[in-house]
């Protein structure tokens, strides 16, 4: 699903150039449930942005679903994002003056689907996440967990192949975090590739593969079978 080879990215900071990604290799298969970890400055946000086609890279190649993502103009990038990627953010990023249903339906608006039809689809997705009776509430009237579920519904509605979640539980208490992770797990079980960026070990431990970034390259990959060992190690640390 995702093939990244020798990826380089640096930022210009005045006269200095900050080299963030230094020849990163990454392969993620279809249907994987991956978390990306790393201390701040390790390049995980940069990687997420490149994965989400929110930012361009300097060198290397990035294939998404067999398609080379390189030097797209803004309009093409927007269309690809809309089609292939669902975003979930730490701070939910719902639009405050739109109700839950309208927020969920927004990606379909950019696919030029009629208002009636997309609202109907949005209701279906909200129903699936148990929020049907909250459909006509504004985000400010929802709890944190509810907001994140609305955001998940929004990420799912365009039926993307990949869900990119940036600290999806960062603003939630542990019970709600667990709930959200359960939902993401279910989504993954339905065959979608889910990629989470997090710095919480117990959240990462709920995924099937952990990629640890260190200084702009992959430091360590912990796979399914080793997860138990990872969990134990985290506990003793």
């Amino acid at each position: 699903m995702i093939q990244i080879k020798d990826l380089h990215k640096s930022y210009e900071m005045g006269h200095n150039s900050l080299h963030v990604l230094k020849g990163l290799h990454l392969d993620i298969e279809k249907g994987e449930f991956v978390s990306i970890m790393g201390s701040s400055g390790s390049g995980k946000s940069t990687l997420l942005n490149i994965l989400g086609i929110l930012d361009d890279y300097d060198r290397g190649t990035y294939y998404l679903g067999g398609k080379l993502i390189q030097g797209l103009n803004e309009t093409k990038a927007a269309l690809t994002r809309n089609e292939m990627i669902g975003f979930i953010f730490q701070s939910f990023n719902l639009i405050s003056f739109k109700n839950a249903m309208e927020n969920v339906a927004l990606p379909l608006y950019y696919q030029k689907i009629s208002r009636k039809k997309r609202n109907q689809i949005a209701l279906e997705y909200l129903d699936r996440l148990g929020l049907k009776e909250w459909a006509h509430h504004l985000p400010s009237e929802l709890s944190g967990g509810q907001k994140q579920r609305v955001a998940i519904a929004r990420a799912l509605i365009s039926q993307p192949q990949i869900i990119l979640a940036d600290e999806p539980t960062g603003a939630l208490d542990s019970a709600t975090s667990l709930e959200v992770m359960e939902i993401l797990k279910e989504i993954n079980d339905q065959g979608k590739t889910v990629i989470i960026v997090t710095h919480e070990h117990d959240i990462a431990a709920m995924t099937k593969k952990i990629i640890k970034l260190k200084d702009g390259v992959i430091g360590e990959v912990i796979k399914n079978g080793e997860l138990q060992a990872f969990k134990d190690r985290v506990r003793t640390e």
Binding site: D55, A78, I95, F97, L106, Y109, Y110, Q111, S158
Partner: protein, 420 residues
């Protein structure tokens, strides 16, 4: 771009910032309001002056004979110049530049009009039939002087409306005989001289041939009224005047530059020059008006910039989930156009409404007879100007939104969505 979601979003943001939107809109409305008032006033002044000109055809020219003030070809100054009927024939056939000609013989002394027991002293003018159209006179009863009257030396008279009132009261004057210095004249018509002051309706008209025969005029003529070809520049009008002066000077042996030998006045030249001043005023008004408008538009642009700044996060979200730069630009641009157009339209309505109100008051004043001399008439803005203003508004709304929209389109989702 025009579906309900876009409007819903625009109204949501407008609702969130009512006062700010109002203040911005107000500056645009004010700009348009001032533009309408300035343009309306300019038009009012122009129409007022035009009405003053309308008492005659604007292409009218007068010639009158005088006394030479310059020696010419061995002849001394101080000779009096005398026009005659041959001059009339000459002017009539002179060239294409002159269209209609009417000559006038001044009746000697004071003419007393008597009818039954009524009498009075009125101005009597002798003329050719063409004077009616040249002087924009409308006949309210009967007819004007015609060619038959002229050829047969008929003793007929067309009286001014005030003369009719003084002599006939409410009786029908047509076919009645008035005595002018004891010579009976048959009343064939009553005229109303458009745009003239009431005093001028004290004038009555008789055929020039009759006047010359009855009042010992032989073939003498005192003044000519001529209509010239309608030209568009003052220079052309002046050159027609110069040609006529030259020709007449040749016939009567005086220096064409001698203004006292033959006086002349070309109304068209003056009319063109006056209208040119108004053209300049109009340009000036547009410059001021557009200046005011620009101030308003800069205000709108400013507000939109702040708005985009405030909505950076929202725009970031939209872009992350698939909004193209085009749709973001559309959103900002449409809001800007909406504010300027609605506000501008309100300003337009108020401006035009005020000027129509002033016009209503003026017309009432004129209608009650007190406003004949007003140099300010119909101070309204025509439809084309209003449409032009509207188009300017929409274009300027787009301009005002353009910079902020560009800024919005360049919002980087990464920066907008950073958790800070």
């Amino acid at each position: 771009m025009f579906d309900i979601d876009v409007w819903q979003e625009i109204f949501a943001t407008i609702k969130k910032n009512k006062l700010r939107t109002f203040l911005t809109g107000f500056s645009v409305a004010w700009g348009i309001f001032m533009l309408m008032i300035l343009l309306g006033s300019g038009n009012g002044l122009q129409n007022g002056v035009r009405t003053q000109f309308a008492s005659n055809s604007v292409n009218m020219m007068w010639l009158w004979a005088g006394e030479t003030s310059m020696p010419y070809q061995g002849l001394k100054e101080g000779r009096s110049i005398k026009f005659n009927n041959a001059d009339y024939a000459f002017l009539k056939g002179m060239n294409q530049d002159l269209q209609q000609v009417s000559s006038r013989y001044y009746l000697p002394g004071n003419i007393v009009y008597t009818y039954k027991n009524e009498y009075g002293s009125f101005e009597t003018s002798s003329c050719h039939p063409s004077l009616q159209s040249m002087g924009n006179m409308s006949v309210t009863a009967g007819r004007f002087i015609n060619d038959l009257d002229l050829n047969d030396y008929r003793k007929v008279i067309v009286i001014g409306d005030n003369v009719r009132l003084a002599l006939f009261k409410d009786a029908d004057p047509l076919g009645e005989y008035i005595n002018l210095n004891n010579v009976p004249f048959k009343v064939v018509g009553v005229i109303h001289d458009k745009g003239r002051r009431n005093d001028d309706e004290r004038t009555s008209y008789i055929p020039i041939s009759t006047a010359q025969r009855i009042f010992n005029g032989a073939d003498r003529v005192h003044t000519f009224a001529v209509t010239t070809k309608v030209v568009t520049t003052a220079e052309e009008a002046d050159s027609i005047t110069a040609d006529v002066r030259k020709a007449m000077a040749l016939r009567h042996n005086f220096d064409p530059k001698d203004k006292r030998a033959m006086g002349s006045f070309n109304l068209l030249a003056m009319y063109i020059r006056t209208m040119k001043i108004f053209q300049a005023i109009k340009i000036f008004v547009w410059i001021i008006g557009i200046g005011t408008l620009i101030a308003g538009i800069v205000g709108v642009s400013n507000i939109m910039l702040i708005l985009v700044k405030e909505r950076t996060r929202e725009i970031g979200i939209r872009k992350a989930i698939g909004a193209t730069p085009g749709s973001v630009i559309g959103l900002v641009l449409l809001e800007s156009i909406l504010i300027t157009t609605v506000a501008g339209y309100i300003g337009l309505i108020f401006g035009i409404g005020l000027m129509e109100g002033v016009n209503y008051g003026l017309e009432k004043a004129v209608g009650s007879g007190g406003g004949d001399n007003i140099f300010f008439r119909n101070p309204t803005v025509d439809f084309t100007t209003a449409i032009t203003a509207m188009v300017i508004l929409i274009v300027s709304g787009a301009l005002a939104g353009y910079l902020p929209a560009r800024k919005a389109a360049n919002v980087k989702p990464i920066e907008a969505l950073r958790n800070d």
